[in-house]
């Protein structure tokens, strides 16, 4: 572990400016789901620029998956850290978020102005229905991967009931599920 840290410290493969530009490109041209973004990361950082190895990328992706918060953002932060420590984290995050954030602010301003426009309302009716379908599909895919036995099924059903029926606070439900997970794992 100490050795790995040492070698990382020695190996500043590129400048902060280049890290910002690479993540700016990733954040600007990657649309859609997790997998298209991950493929884009790999192509840009491993294959084209050769800043990190394939194994380092896989490890970064794993860290992104197993830390709280959005996995793609976390993968980027992890790679930024490997490339240039904390300053690398800052420029990678800024680069990755920049375009999406600016566009979201512009669209939000436009949307809030034009909210009562009948055409926009028609458009957003269709869009909202599609988003409900999208959320359903995300639940379906997550459930297929995560609900593997009666314990996980019980946790999912319990959390569903706690929110849908008893209207408990989801933050509390998440904390309770974490504690329950610890207890169930302990017994094993």
């Amino acid at each position: 572990m100490a050795e790995a840290n040492e070698s990382n410290k020695e190996r500043l493969v590129t400048s902060l400016r280049n890290i910002f530009l690479a993540f700016f490109k990733i954040g600007t041209f990657s649309f859609g789901g997790v997998y298209s973004m991950i493929a884009f990361f790999e192509r840009e950082l491993v294959e084209r620029r050769k800043w990190i190895t394939h194994d380092e990328f896989i490890e970064s992706f794993a860290i992104g998956q197993m830390t709280p918060g959005p996995p793609i953002v976390n993968t980027g932060i992890c790679i930024g850290y490997k490339l240039h420590r904390l300053p690398g984290v800052m420029v990678a995050t800024l680069g990755q978020a920049f375009t999406g954030t600016v566009l979201a602010i512009i669209l939000a301003a436009f949307y809030l102005q034009a909210k009562d426009n009948p055409l926009l309302q028609s458009v957003m009716k269709g869009v909202a229905a599609a988003v409900v379908g999208l959320l359903g599909s995300i639940i379906y895919k997550m459930a297929k991967k995560l609900i593997t036995g009666y314990k996980s099924a019980a946790l999912a059903v319990g959390a569903f009931g706690a929110l849908a029926v008893f209207k408990l606070n989801p933050i509390g439900i998440i904390l309770a599920a974490g504690v329950l997970g610890l207890i169930l794992n302990w017994r094993r």
């Binding site: 976390n74 055409l119 458009v123």
Partner: protein, 171 residues
Amino acid sequence: MEILKLAAILFVINGLTIGGGYAMVPLLQKELVENHHWLTNKEFIDAIAISQVTPGPLTVMNAFMGFKVGGLTGAIVAMVASYLPSIIIVTLVTRHYLQYKESWIVKGSFDGIKPAVVGLLAAVLIFLGRSSLTSVPLGAFAAVSFGLISFTRIDPTFIIIGSGILGAFLF
């Protein structure tokens, strides 16, 4: 100070949710729509749609919500508050990856949280569906979108844009 309250809420939610960008949706809906009434359910869904059609991570929906609560400052504060937990946690985990990976606390609590997130999302889907699927054609739209995203490789971005275009003619 609504903006600071929003920042605190986003910080906690981002620091707590495991299992993908969408894992945050139930917590955001509860806090921003039901507890603080900063957005309606409809605006909340539209924020998800906007973040889906803009490039980059889903988290940019927090910029939309921040903008609604506090204008440009609100949007920037919301983004910083959303990214801060990730920056702190991931930096620490990257330095201590092996210990973290083998930690029974991490493993155990994640085993509990991940399936719970599925249940929470399903509950929120009911709330959101109730406010946006107000007619049979809209229900059919949702069903088709579900089918296409679940069983084909079409990028959800195109389905959302396509639904908007169709919506302009149909509704």
